[in-house]
């Protein structure tokens, strides 16, 4: 009687630990999403103050990453989780790395926004960056939603979406090259635009990675570096 109570108690604490861990990953995700959308807003509105604020706030994301990392090590060391719990922890460790990188890219975009704000502004206020940015922000949001809901189908959608982001990135690069050839004085500015687009494209890749971890977490299958079509076929 006593023993069964004890195990029950321990496993309940373990459940709570895991649940807390999941919640803090999603909190970190929320923070990163906010950072990204503010960085995009800074570029579109030419708000250099907002851009610098995004760049300065990156330490919050980093702090969360370190905290969650420690908590994961603690659970691994003290609870030796198995099966789905172990997959969850492994997926979380990888997810927060990607989230932290997204935070870094957002920081970069914020900094670039503050630089772009000081230069000439095109009449369309970087519409193509806005499109790409909104697209990537949507991907990141879907990725975190899939993580919260353990939704494999939504994850697959995001993984497929990444190809379209790559296409948009290519288009922006080509456009920038054209502008630079037309007017060499604008090279500095369009270099910055290219860098921002590059960062956004990287964020798309990281969002894709997170979705692959969700699939791993739910189904135990590693779908990295495979053809996405194969993935959906096996379902």
């Amino acid at each position: 009687m006593r023993t069964s109570n004890l195990t029950d108690h321990i496993s309940r604490r373990f459940n709570k630990d895991i649940e807390d861990l999941r919640n803090s990953v999603l909190t970190m995700g929320g923070l990163v999403e906010a950072q990204l959308s503010r960085a995009i807003a800074a570029i579109v509105s030419g708000d250099s103050e907002l851009g610098l604020k995004v760049a300065n706030d990156d330490y919050k994301v980093n702090n969360l990453e370190v905290g969650i990392d420690e908590e994961c090590s603690r659970i691994l060391a003290t609870r030796s989780p198995a099966a789905s719990d172990l997959r969850l922890i492994v997926a979380i460790i990888k997810t927060i790395t990607d989230l932290e990188r997204i935070g870094d890219e957002a920081e970069k975009i914020g900094f670039l926004a503050s630089q772009l704000a000081a230069m000439d502004r095109p009449s369309d206020s970087y519409r193509e960056l806005k499109y790409l940015g909104n697209h990537v922000a949507r991907m990141l949001r879907s990725a975190m939603d899939a993580f919260a809901r353990l939704d494999v189908e939504a994850s697959l959608e995001v993984v497929k979406e990444d190809d379209r982001v790559d296409e948009e990135y290519d288009a922006i690069t080509r456009q920038c090259i054209t502008f630079m050839m037309e007017d060499p004085r604008s090279i500095r500015r369009f270099m910055n635009v290219t860098w921002a687009a590059r960062s956004l494209e990287r964020i798309g890749d990281h969002a894709k990675n997170i979705c692959e971890y969700v699939i791993y977490m739910v189904q135990g299958r590693d779908v990295r570096h495979t053809d996405t079509l194969d993935v959906s076929d096996t379902d």
Binding site: N23, G29, G30, E33, A34, S37, A137, M144, D145, A148
Partner: protein
């Protein structure tokens, strides 16, 4: 004893008695009784099994009519059963109505429990914020709406707080969120689409800013020519009109620059907490500027020079200037205007009190509206624009401060600005903040 019982027991006794009688005729009454009892048992066992089958197949044909004990049991059973069904139908109907009405609500409503886990949400929550009514049950709300502002909102105890978040579904759309306590330990999160309202607000702000800006250049030209006209020799009959025109042009200039200041204040965010303001020094300089005027009331200053404020110096100076100039305008020459600045443990206070004519109670709530004047004609003569207190209110709200107005007709008014402790600092610490900034 109910009638049906009596009938059943008498029937059983008669049957057993008849069995015993038949046995008696053959010389064995005990055997006859036993045979009758076995027959009765057999019959009841059959009825019991038939009833069980009827319950399972829902075919009660054999029990529907007649007045035996089994028919009685069935009629009682079916009566209770039907009553239960009727209630269930009614509740289901009621539930459907409730669900229909919550789904028809234009605002999103999410019921969350003490652990912030979603209990239920309506259709609007799905369309506005992308919640999934079935799938998300049991998820924590701040895991689905991950905006840091939402996390803060659902975890805070302050139920009057609202936050605006960008819609997860459509970038550019804004949702106003607030939490209402609901039932025991539960909370209701309300989501309202405020995109249109914010857009209108921004349009109004942009319009005022643009219009004032556009008015500025023609005004400069007019004042410029008027100034040079005044220096020339003008025909005798024209000197008064020209002076009048100059005064009005100056007035218009002031209105335009105050409107611009107001729209700048509106679009500015919260004032920086890293910069510090020496309020006592500001008060002294404002006093100097006003004392140069002849015939106005005396200004008494009681300022604590050790208490400094974190915020924007220009905005605080504008607060002091507007309050003092208002007080002077409404105070006769022999009156007194007292400016007090002091810190206490809950923050700090800036008080501007006068011994002027005072304000009637019904006007006080409207004082900070733009262009509101208690006495239109008179205020204009004295050079008021009607934007001063609106500017004060906005500048204070940028510093998390509140404005309290008290007044007694004929005795004077008191304008009290309360700053929270987070905005107040000491002179010694202020020097540190200043150094950190320059480093």
């Amino acid at each position: 004893m109910p009638k049906s019982w009596r009938k059943f027991l008498i029937g059983l006794a008669l049957f057993l008695g008849a069995g015993a009688g038949v046995g008696y005729l053959y010389g064995h009454p005990d055997w006859g009784l036993l045979a009758a009892a076995l027959l009765a048992l057999l019959w009841h066992v059959r009825q019991l099994l038939a009833f069980d089958r009827a319950l399972r197949t829902r075919d009660f044909e054999a029990f529907r009519f007649g007045d035996g004990i089994w028919q009685q049991i069935f009629s009682r059973f079916s009566f209770e059963h039907e009553r239960g069904e009727r209630h269930k139908r009614r509740y289901r109907q009621l539930l459907r109505e409730i669900r229909k009405s919550t789904n028809a609500m234009p605002d999103g409503a999410v019921v969350v429990d003490a652990g912030n886990e979603i209990v239920m949400c309506n259709r609007a929550a799905k369309h506005l914020a992308g919640l999934k009514p079935k799938k998300d049950r049991g998820q924590r709300i701040d895991n689905i709406l991950r905006d840091p502002a939402i996390t803060e909102l659902v975890q805070s105890e302050d139920m009057s707080k609202t936050v605006d978040i960008e819609s997860p579904l459509r970038p550019g759309d804004w949702l106003n969120c607030r939490v209402v306590p609901y039932g025991a330990d539960q909370k209701l999160l309300m989501l309202r689409d405020v995109t249109e309202r914010l857009r209108l607000n921004r349009m109004r702000r942009d319009f005022v800013a643009n219009a004032s800006h556009e008015l500025r250049s023609p005004l400069t030209v007019i004042t410029g020519y008027l100034d040079s006209l005044a220096e020339e020799d003008i025909p005798a009959g024209w000197s008064a009109p020209v002076a009048q025109m100059m005064a009005q042009a100056r007035r218009m200039n002031r209105i335009v620059s105050e409107l611009l200041e107001l729209s700048r204040l509106e679009s500015a965010g919260r004032a920086n907490t890293e910069a510090v303001v020496d309020v006592a020094a500001l008060i002294a300089s404002v006093r100097k500027a006003f004392e140069a005027r002849n015939g106005s009331a005396e200004i008494a200053v009681d300022a604590d020079s050790n208490t400094w404020l974190r915020g924007n110096g220009t905005q605080i100076e504008s607060v002091i200037t507007n309050l003092v100039s208002n007080a002077l305008r409404h105070t006769p020459g022999e009156g007194k205007v007292a400016v007090t600045w002091r810190g206490h443990k809950n923050g700090a206070e800036l008080i501007v009190a006068d011994t002027g004519e005072g304000i009637a109670e019904e006007h006080i709530p409207r004082l900070t509206e733009r262009f509101f004047r208690v006495d239109r004609g008179r205020a204009r003569e004295e050079g008021g624009v009607g934007l001063g207190l609106a500017i004060v209110k906005h500048a204070l709200s940028r510093h998390d401060a509140s404005l309290q107005i008290r007044s007694v007709l004929g005795e004077g008014s008191e304008f009290r600005c309360r700053f929270p402790a987070s905005r107040v600092t000491q002179r010694s610490e202020a020097a540190l903040i200043g150094r950190a900034q320059s480093a």
